[in-house]
């Protein structure tokens, strides 16, 4: 065990995490810029909003998590709730 715990792994180094996140942010920015360069064909009204999919994805997930958190107040019980 001692051997494995001493071994440094990829994300043990915070700089690697930082690098990964930076790369991720860069891709996000590129995707937004691409939206203005590439002409995408649209069929529905709201698709015409610039970077619609990016905004929608972001907002959808924030709403999802916030609602789920509120839901926890209503539905969350102890782990052995049904066994009692």
């Amino acid at each position: 065990m001692t051997e494995t715990t001493q071994k440094k792994h990829l994300f043990d180094n915070p700089r690697n995490v930082e690098r990964l996140l930076k790369g991720f942010y860069v891709i996000c920015i590129i995707l937004i810029i691409a939206d203005f360069i590439i002409h995408r064909h649209t069929t529905m009204g709201w698709e015409k909003i610039p970077a619609f999919y990016a905004f929608y994805g972001f907002i959808a997930c924030v709403v999802l998590v916030v609602v789920a958190k509120i839901m926890r107040k209503v539905v969350m019980r102890k782990e052995n709730y049904y066994d009692e």
Binding site: V62, V75, Y82
Partner: protein, 566 residues
Amino acid sequence: MSELPPFLLYFIAAFLVPASRGRVRKIILLVTPIVAALHIWLNIDTGVLSTYSVLNIELTFMRTDKLSLIFAYLFCLASFIATIFALQVNDTKQETAGLVYVGSALGAVFAGDLITLFIFWELLAISSVVFIWARGTERAIDTGMRYLIFQVLSGVFLLAGALVQYQATGSLAFDHIGLEGIASWLIFIAFGIKSAFPFLHNWLTDGYPEATATGTVFLSAFTTKVAVYALARGFAGEEILVYIGITMACFPIFYAVIENDLRKVLAYSLINQVGFMVTGIGIGTALALNGAVAHAFSDVIFKGLLFMTMGVVLHRVGHINGSSLGGLYKSMPKTTAFCIIGALSISAFPLFSGFVSKSMVMAALVQEDYSYLWLFMLFASAGVFHHAGIKIPYFAFFAHDSGLRPKEAPINMLIAMGLAATLCIFIGTQPQYLYSLLPWEADYWPYDVTHVLTQLQLLFFSALAFVWLNKRGIYPPELRSTNLDVEWIYRKFLPAGIHRGLIFFRNAKESTMTAAIAPMYSIRYSFSQSTIAKYHLSESWPTGSMVLWISIILVAYLLLDIFVYG
């Protein structure tokens, strides 16, 4: 040869397995799916119809068309992968049940009439519960019982529907049914239970996380997909399915976000994926139906892959709670990689299998002008990525280091996961092979600049939301907990209601007893105090004196009758 039903091969193997042991048994287990697949591939073409007669009713064992064939290929493939994954398990019960289970799924998709379908429908139920009971815990026994009640109930609805239809039309044929009349609704509910419609879904989220590490891989592939097949054949184009499907796609993702048991997260996301299929069936155009079937195909493989990776974690660590996992990538890098491939596939990343199948349903929604519903489905798509695509790999393999250093998966499990992962990428990059198997004629190609760009935007910004919420500390932590779902009604509310009801009736009985008995005692008491009580006859009651007095009265009647009225 073409008339030999493929399910027989599995059933024969199910007899051979308990009679064999060791290596021979493993060979039987592995060879059966291959032989069945080759038999279907080489000998069975579309348009086969083989019937048999029971009690003057003609039943159809085999009815083949492209719809039944693609599901048959899928089931052989899925059972092959799941068998490899479960190869190190030496449990006769599970091995036999697995063969019966897969055989029944094959029997169901080839069934040409409702009675044959019913037989395999119930066999699916009975054989599959073994995977839950095999866990052996008291909790698993209870869960299995609840699971079985739902499954058998579904069969009862199916049989009732079949009989009503036979009564009304004289036909038991299983073709397009459509929602008209009581028979069709009964059958619709039967299919609905098995495909986990909202409010009827809890057998799935209750049962699948309780099954054995390898059992859930089997379970996730067959039951709901047989139901999807049955809906596609019987109820294609019923608009109500669009709304049911969208509900199925949307509500489970909220539960998936807060659920701690990672296999339960996958169970919720299974409902979410079936929601896309049900929506496709409800739209009913060739493209939408193809999308539903294609998505069933890719879902079996990527969901199987995800359940396999979580099965490995359960197998190695002994539990699957997100709250006490993390950092497993350090000691299980291969499993981690396979999990990420499964996650990318379910999230519909370009080049992975979910992308080429789910987009057909989305495109069909746009074509049929369901623009508001399309927004809901887009929400569900983003949500899938969030809970299945990021949450599963992140909390199991990364997140905070739990200190756990389990060994990498056994070789057979790695092979099974590798096969599934390869298929995910193969279907995603070479979709033409899957498309050529699809039952309906529809021209569709998923890869164009707009589609790839918009999908990447959707997914990357969903991921960005995850990163942002996590950094801000808003993301809900994994907590050991139970989240109430519809099952609360029958596991808490109704039992508590019945309990209270019983107490109420007991109290009511007691109070009426006291209310009625007190006056009775007082009447008896006052009688004993009265003068009549002193009378000779009421003092002693020997039977003899009663008989004597009755005979005296009778004699008196007789004499009166003879002399007075005579």
